[in-house]
């Protein structure tokens, strides 16, 4: 087991889990974190699913990276997902690198790190694994499940696979099947990693050299897709790093260049390159429509959960159109669904940022569910 993640909360799942790829895993670790207090009736639990580069440390200071949690804008005391009121759970996904079963873990059969011998994971596998934690915490039914981007895909998969396990579902800025454009961007990232000679076919742990350059380029390219043209232009424009003249070199003349380089370099400090390969693959393989023979409406036939689908106007990675396909499918099967597109110039990243209209919608929807459940139960 990895040293740096030794002291974080972990559940060892002893049951065996049949993965979509055909392999079976058991006795595997699931690292998780919780915030707030579970009430007596166990009716205030919210399961948050993290996205590609996220982890279980949703809010406060991440004890490993010493940085703020990835959703500090939305989760915490007095915030939209109010930890004074709700019990928030987040699990590091299968294939991740923050303590859960992933390519950075030791394969007990060989005594070596998995690397690329790790099984290919799907979104469905990630969701299945998290059910074990809910059982461990004795939570039968969640108040809500939510997440943006790949977190939203997990929301959709969970709502489809476990229709009775949540009162509500909030998929944010996501899609029911990964688009060609998104697969293309993920492939670009993977190729950047694999083109780094240090990657060594995934065996970089044997050489003590890691594919930092490749992973940084992958992150830089991905980061551009999380922003919007307008947002970039307003924030950076053609502003120079050092005022005055161009340097006539390939150093970072422009602020946007140095910003991207910074994003790349901080990412490699906290993320595992092989994990990046596995997780992007899981996103690409996600196609809930195909799981139901081409009819997405059938995915939600059994659900009684109340949905609130949220998209952002400037998100071109998971555009409103793709989010609306989820809404259309939910309507087609008579599910209970609300939908709003939030105006924001901040692109796909909007769900992570301080976008007041979004946070307000999130908060009000959750409060309405909280009130409905408590009225129903007469608490």
């Amino acid at each position: 087991m990895n040293k740096e993640t030794k002291n974080i909360k972990k559940l060892i799942v002893h049951q065996s889990l049949d993965l979509d790829c055909g392999r079976t895993i058991k006795n595997f670790p699931l690292a998780y974190e919780t915030y707030g207090t579970l009430n007596k009736g166990k009716t205030n639990a919210i399961l948050v699913f993290h996205a590609l580069s996220g982890d279980q440390f949703v809010t406060n200071i991440n004890p490993i990276t010493k940085r703020e949690g990835w959703w500090t804008t939305a989760v915490g005391s007095g915030k939209a997902i109010d930890t004074d009121k709700f019990f928030v759970i987040c699990v590091n996904i299968l294939g991740g690198c923050m303590g859960s079963f992933g390519p950075k873990e030791i394969n007990p059969e060989t005594g070596e790190l998995f690397g690329t011998t790790f099984p290919v994971i799907t979104i469905k596998d990630m969701v299945r694994a998290q059910i074990y934690l809910l059982e461990h915490l004795s939570i039968d039914k969640l108040l809500a499940i939510t997440g943006g981007s790949m977190g939203g895909m997990q929301v959709l998969q969970f709502a489809s696979s476990y229709p009775d396990k949540t009162y509500s579902a909030i998929p944010i800025a996501c899609s029911a099947s990964h688009s060609a454009q998104n697969i293309a961007f993920n492939e670009l990232g993977r190729q950047a990693i694999m083109a780094d000679p240090n990657w060594n076919k995934g065996n970089y742990f044997k050489t003590n050299l890691s594919p930092d350059k490749g992973l940084a380029v992958a992150r830089m390219a991905a980061h551009i897709t999380y922003l919007s043209d307008k947002g970039l232009q307003e924030k950076f424009g053609r502003k120079l790093q050092v005022k005055g003249n161009l340097k006539f070199s390939f150093d970072a003349d422009f602020q946007i260049e140095s910003y991207l380089r910074h994003q790349g370099s901080v990412f490699v400090d906290r993320f595992d390159a092989n994990s990046y390969l596995y997780i992007t693959r899981a996103m690409d393989y996600f196609d809930l429509t195909k799981q139901f023979d081409g009819n997405l409406a059938n995915a939600f036939k059994k659900t009684k959960a109340k949905f609130c689908v949220i998209s952002f106007s400037s998100d071109w990675l998971y555009p409103t159109r793709e989010n609306k396909e989820i809404v259309i499918a939910l309507n087609a099967c008579g599910a209970n669904v609300g939908f709003v597109e939030i105006n924001s110039d901040k692109g796909h990243d909007s769900f992570l940022l301080d976008v007041p209209e979004f946070l307000k919608t999130l908060s009000e929807f959750l409060n309405s569910i909280y009130n409905e459940i408590n009225n129903e139960k007469g608490i």
Binding site: G338, E357, K360, T361, E364, S368
Partner: protein, 197 residues
Amino acid sequence: MKKEFKVIAQIIKNSKRVLDVGCGDGTLMEYLKLNQQNDVRGLEPQKDLVQKCIAKGLSVIEGDAEKELIQFPEKSFDYVVLSQTLQAFLAPEEVLKQLLRIGKQTIVSIPNFGYWKVRLHLLLKGTMPITKNLPNEWYNTPNLHMCTIQDFANFCNEKNIKIDKSLCLTNEKISEITSGNRFYKNIFSQLGIFLIQ
């Protein structure tokens, strides 16, 4: 809540599945949900109003009825409600077709352009009528296809749409429209409410 909504709620009764098209801030939806245990959904094009509805715990989809109605399955609601919006669509006939397809029954209300104050305004002032129900100027009104109670009745007749109930509203007073009194009701009513299928 305005009288029109009370009338619509009375028609719907309890425990029905209802779609409110152009639901605004969700006033009618909330009433139907809390007082009559109806299972209600809404469709509304204005973001801020959709957010208000979501805050009230109402399931409302942001979208334009002219594009979005197509996604709802046939006869998936007991009632579809369209309150004073028909005249604002680019293609009201198409919208009406969709409403009739989705709902087992449809409730449509229209501001009556045949109301005597409207007629008098045009007759005497010679300018486009502005009344309490039609407060906008000709250049900024959202109403593209105004009609009268008589027009709507004629339309239903031509298109073989069955009118199960027709009511009219004047100064908060509700009364029934019959084939015998329609001529007068078309002069003295501000609003027509029709239950059609």
